[in-house]
């Protein structure tokens, strides 16, 4: 498969390949049919190629996910698109009390191979209810996987991996990232891909060539800003940081973190997320790292979290920029550790 050039193209190609490879895969969502091809064009071309298996739905997020869950119980592999991540809570009960629970409640007699795709993130001036990163509220739901692609790894392949999993996956894309060029890992890092049976969705660990002064952890749309911050810190502060770009947000990929800490104990760990840090993904990663650090009797680590301020995201770009995390916030947080 030729490497697509943008995140969007990669996702579209991945979805198309999944539909072609398995008759059981169906796509449901609002406005997903051609020629419109979805609000963010991820499903463009699919209804033309697979007319029976790409279904446009009424504006019924709860209904769509409920129907997809029932279909998954009976052997189909539905891929549902929720148009904006902000709308996830409309389907919240179906995600949490139905899709995520049937396998365990029914004593492993059934599987729910459901994927819910949705774009998160702001920086487009869409305002408070169309710019959020609500995936943080679905972390730690037993039975639910939360996965986020990024531009340095193959998003389409990650989507296919999610579709192939027999359990429900919340697949969180990023609006701004759709247009991002796919990139290979920067040359001044040694790239390590971590994936195992416990945490099958890969983590990309970019280690600096020499000893690392600390670790930056991020996922999804904040990857670009984190890379820029790392480069800035190296140039102006002579701090060499490793980057840990996670794709599996939940369940926590503790095995990956253990492997990274086994190679060397950082003295500073900074997590970066677009959602407000309070009660979020960064806190979970730090708690996990701290548990590993303590059990291995490693030296003290300075921790900082970078995230949005705890406020609804304003619509005006300047106000939005003040709420959402920027490169400078990452740089400042790292410096605060030293």
């Amino acid at each position: 498969m030729t490497r697509e050039t943008t995140v969007l193209a990669s996702l579209n190609a991945g979805l198309s390949a999944a539909l072609a490879a398995d008759d059981r895969v169906i796509v449901l969502g609002e406005d997903v049919l051609d020629p419109y091809g979805g609000a963010f064009k991820v499903t463009r071309g699919l209804s033309t190629r697979f007319p029976d298996r790409v279904l446009a739905t009424p504006i019924s997020e709860a209904g769509i996910v409920a129907v997809a869950t029932g279909a998954a119980l009976r052997g189909l592999r539905p891929v549902v698109e929720i148009m904006f991540g902000d709308f996830l809570f409309l389907a919240g009960d179906q995600i949490v009390n139905h899709a995520a629970k049937y396998r365990a409640m029914f004593n492993d007699q059934v599987r729910v191979p459901l994927v819910i795709r949705t774009p998160a993130g702001g920086r487009r001036g869409y305002g408070p209810t169309h710019s959020q990163s609500l995936e943080k509220h679905f972390l730690g739901v037993p039975g639910l996987w939360v996965v986020a692609p990024h531009a340095l790894a193959d998003p389409g392949a990650l989507l296919r991996q999610a579709i192939d999993l027999d359990d429900p996956v919340l697949f969180v894309e990023n609006k701004i990232d759709y247009g991002a060029q796919l990139a290979t890992e920067p040359a001044d890092y040694a790239a390590v891909r971590l994936a195992d049976a416990a945490s099958p969705f890969p983590t990309l660990w970019l280690a600096p060539r020499g000893p690392a002064d600390g670790l930056l952890l991020c996922y999804g749309g904040m990857t670009g800003a984190t890379l820029t911050a790392a480069a800035t810190l190296r140039a102006t502060e002579r701090l060499d940081l490793g980057l840990v770009i996670v794709s599996q947000l939940a369940p926590t990929p503790a095995t990956h973190l253990e492997a990274i800490l086994a190679k060397g104990a950082p003295t500073a760990v900074v997590t970066v997320e677009e959602a407000p840090s309070e009660g979020g993904w960064g806190a979970e990663m730090i708690a996990t790292i701290e548990r590993i650090r303590d059990s291995r009797r490693l030296g003290a680590i300075a921790y900082r979290r970078v995230g949005a301020k705890s406020a609804p995201i304003p619509s005006a770009r300047a106000l939005e920029d003040a709420v959402l995390p920027q490169v400078d916030d990452i740089v400042a947080a790292v410096l605060d550790c030293f």
Binding site: I26, L55, T57, P58, S60, A62, G63, V65, A66, V67, A68, T69, G70, A71, A72, L73, R74, G75, L76, P78, D93, Q94, N97, H98, K101, Y102, A104, M105, F106, N107, Q109, V110
Partner: protein, 309 residues
């Protein structure tokens, strides 16, 4: 001559061709089971919560008998013991599940409201199962299995928006679902009249879903109406609705019945199970004894090793 019952004997489930006595046996078993359950709760032998379907057994037997058990699916709700027993007749596994035993239907992990066996599913969130049922029908239609999916819900469930989303989608996509609405006039402790504006049947018709209404008390009427709905759904590949008017003779859960005594007395006077019993004739006594014996065996076996009865 029926063989003597053992605790693990499966109750013989019925279909459209079964005799009335057999249908009654199923209904009596459900009644006995639910009453035994409430009694065990009162004695403190069972923990957790449960929702008995006393008064609604006949509808469960009739509608389930109308289905094709080789392929049809059932998505039930929190008040699903009758639906479950009528579908598969697994009496001991159901009681074991409610008691949390590993040899229960779901290994003790689901309990009263979360059951799955073969093509039977249930969950405890109002309205959620209705949407799932539509999805089941979608999958089966895709597989061209000719399956009809029976979605059980109550009149109180129509407070949830998902019910409307599900009906809309089922009608739009022409899915073979039969929505069986047990209109018992009450939602927990709230009369339906103070919950639903407009008409229940109109709520189905507005989606162009053909809806039939029955009394919920007459077995033959129920069986006929259910059969028509199931056959039509299968043949036309479109949803149908069946409203069964019955009375919930027991509490919502345990002890939460605030209805006036006079109302309950009148309701008991029209008990559908008693009515069916009357239609069965002489065999009723013998069936009652056999049901009692089976229930005693089931109860003893299920309580064994848990605590003294």
């Amino acid at each position: 001559m029926t063989p003597p019952a053992t605790a693990h004997a499966r109750l013989a489930v019925t279909d459209r061709t079964s005799r009335l006595a057999d249908h009654y046996r199923v209904a009596a078993t459900i009644r006995r089971f639910e009453q035994m359950l409430l009694d065990q709760f009162a004695r403190g032998h069972v923990a957790g919560t449960t929702h008995t379907c006393i008064g609604q057994e006949v509808a469960a037997v009739a509608v389930t008998a109308a289905l094709d058990r080789t392929r049809d699916c059932v998505f039930s709700n929190h008040r699903g013991h009758g639906h479950f027993l009528a579908y598969c007749g697994e009496v001991f596994p159901l009681l074991a599940e409610i008691l949390g035993r590993p040899d229960g239907v779901c290994g003790g992990r689901g309990g009263s409201q979360h059951l799955h066996l073969r093509n039977f599913y249930s969950n405890g969130i109002q309205g959620g199962t209705v949407g799932n049922a539509v999805g089941v029908a979608l999958a089966e239609k895709t597989k061209r299995s000719g399956t009809v999916t029976c979605a059980w819900l109550g009149d109180g469930t129509f407070g949830e928006g998902l019910v409307y989303e599900a009906m809309n989608t089922a009608a739009l996509w022409r899915l073979p679902v039969v929505f069986v609405i047990e209109a018992n006039g009450i939602a927990q402790t709230t009369p339906t009249a103070t919950q639903l504006a407009g008409s229940l049947a109109a709520r189905c018709a507005v989606f162009d879903i053909p809806v039939a209404e029955t009394s919920g008390a007459d077995f033959a009427e129920l069986l006929a109406a259910a059969s028509r709905a199931v056959d039509a759904a299968r043949a036309e590949a479109r949803p149908h609705a069946l409203v069964s008017h019955a009375v919930r003779l027991g509490p919502h859960s345990k002890g939460d019945d605030t209805r006036p005594a006079a109302l309950l007395e009148a309701a008991w006077a029209g008990d559908p199970v008693a009515r069916l019993r009357g239609q069965v004739g002489d065999a009723a006594d013998r069936i009652d004894r056999e049901v009692a014996d089976l229930m005693a065996l089931v109860l003893a076996a299920a309580l064994a090793g848990i605590g003294s009865p």
